[in-house]
């Protein structure tokens, strides 16, 4: 599969998962540091994405007359 950009929602889910793993005592030191690095990057990305977003608007039109009857 191609490397599809993960959605904002997926990013937030991953962030939540990471924060839970970091709270888990069974996560080792190296793993924790890796997760922390990933989390910080992801948090930064999410923040920037949301911070710079602007609502897009598109109007959908269709010849309604043809559809009545």
């Amino acid at each position: 599969m191609s490397t599809k950009k993960i959605s904002f929602e997926d990013s937030l889910h991953r962030l939540k998962e990471i924060s839970e793993l970091l709270e888990d005592e069974n996560t080792g030191l190296e793993e924790s540091i890796k997760l922390y690095e990933e989390g910080v990057k992801l948090a930064k990305k999410c923040y920037t994405t949301l911070d710079q977003a602007e609502v897009k608007i598109k109007e959908l039109k269709k010849d309604l007359e043809n559809n009545i009857e």
Binding site: I33, Y36, G39, T49, L50, E54, V55, E59, K61
Partner: protein, 397 residues
């Protein structure tokens, strides 16, 4: 022609009499207002309406052509009391008369309410409101379809709520008339249109507040059915808090207003920012405590018995070493003392041999070629000779 006076002689054909009746009735009964209850209502696929108006003792057939009925904001239901405006027409092929209805309004607000209750009951019985059919509303929609009038305040409110709460979202607007002529049909069509777009996560149908009549399009069966068939989750936000429409009951989620609908549709970015900064804070704390935890682990290993035992081995050895060094130091010092003693003895000896002391006693030394002559055999009488006394040196030859 006087029909009655000439009745005996004149024979009329069916067409003639019908034509006569048609002219008489249509001339006499035009521009009428008639109140009655609708029954046998049929909306033909051509767009024309056929129904009967009745009261306790009489009934009359009615037709309402498409061009006129499209201006009626509601779809009539059997049992609804209405006031129609129209004229009597006669339809010769059937020999019947009917009202050609030009306009129609409900006989009172209560009629709409009653129609509403009736449709609500019917659709409820048909299962259109079933809770188990309600679809969950996605938490983080990417695209939201909106069915509303694009020039309305409701639309502007929805856009501003989306911008404030979740600017990541894309809004796809299918603008519709939301009241009056053709509104219900357009709303239904636009719901279908948005539903047919593959990537829309959620649809909002909405309009601002108004009278029961203004909101009526959302009480029409055609809208209810399009909502029921819609595979995309729908939030309805019609009118004010107190307004309930049929659409509200069929939609997957009812919001009291269009603004509230957009609020329910979008996550709040303030909360997301909060979550992100929370993450940064707690995770940083957590990673430090993980590191501290491991530090403590290492410290407890270092202070464990095994490590301490090793430590004491080192300490023992080091003590031994100190001892040795001490002893060595001691030994050297004694040696140095001994040397010192010897040296002193020798110095004294040397002192006793001091030539100057002997000269002082009156002895003299013989010197030739700047060397002292210590034995007679070394003396050369031909050489210049000096005698060194304690106080001076003198030349002899």
């Amino acid at each position: 022609m006087d029909l009655f006076n000439q009745f005996d002689e004149t024979v009329l054909t069916v067409s003639e009499i019908t034509d006569s009746v048609k002219k008489t009735l249509e001339r006499s009964f035009s521009g009428l207002k008639i109140v009655g209850e609708i029954s046998n209502f049929k909306a033909h696929f051509s767009g024309h309406w056929y129904f009967t108006l009745k009261d306790a003792n009489a009934q009359i057939s009615c037709t309402m052509w498409r061009g006129f009925n499209s201006k009626v904001f509601f779809t009539p239901q059997d049992g609804m009391k209405v006031i129609v405006n129209g004229s009597i027409t006669v339809y010769p092929p059937r020999g019947n008369y009917q009202i050609d209805v030009k306009s129609m309004k409900v006989a009172g607000e209560g009629e709409l309410q009653a129609a509403f209750e009736k449709l609500k009951r019917k659709l409820s019985d048909e299962g259109l409101f079933d809770e188990e059919l309600k679809q969950p509303i996605p938490k983080f929609p990417t695209k939201i379809g909106i069915v509303t009038a694009i020039d309305s305040a409701a639309y502007r409110d929805m856009v501003s709520v989306a911008s404030r709460r979740y600017p990541l979202v894309e809004l796809i607007v299918a603008s519709s008339r939301v009241q009056g002529e053709g509104a219900a049909e357009e709303i239904a069509q636009n719901i279908k249109l948005l539903d047919s777009q593959k990537d829309i996560d959620l649809i909002i149908i909405g309009r601002g507040g108004g009278s029961l009549e203004d909101l009526w399009a959302f009480n029409e069966e055609i809208v209810a059915l399009s909502l029921f068939e819609c595979r995309t989750p729908v939030i309805s936000g019609v009118g004010h808090e107190i307004d309930f429409t049929i659409a509200d009951f069929v939609a997957d989620l009812r919001a009291p207003t269009p603004t509230a609908a957009m609020e329910l549709a979008t996550p709040d970015q303030a909360e997301i920012f909060g979550f992100i900064s929370d993450f940064s804070y707690t995770s940083t704390n957590n990673i430090f405590s993980v590191i501290d935890y491991h530090k403590e682990d290492i410290e407890s290993i270092l202070t464990s018995y095994g490590f301490r035992a090793y430590d004491s081995v080192i300490r023992n050895k080091s003590q031994m070493l100190d001892n040795l060094i001490y002893r060595m130091q001691n030994g050297t010092d004694q040696l140095i003392d001994k040397f010192k003693n010897d040296l002193e003895k020798n110095m004294n000896l040397l002192e006793s041999h001091n030539v100057e002391k002997i000269l002082k006693k009156g002895f003299a030394l013989v010197k030739q070629d700047e060397s002292f002559i210590l034995r007679a055999k070394d003396f050369d009488a031909k050489k210049k000779t000096k005698l060194k006394f304690f106080d001076n040196e003198i030349k002899i030859n």
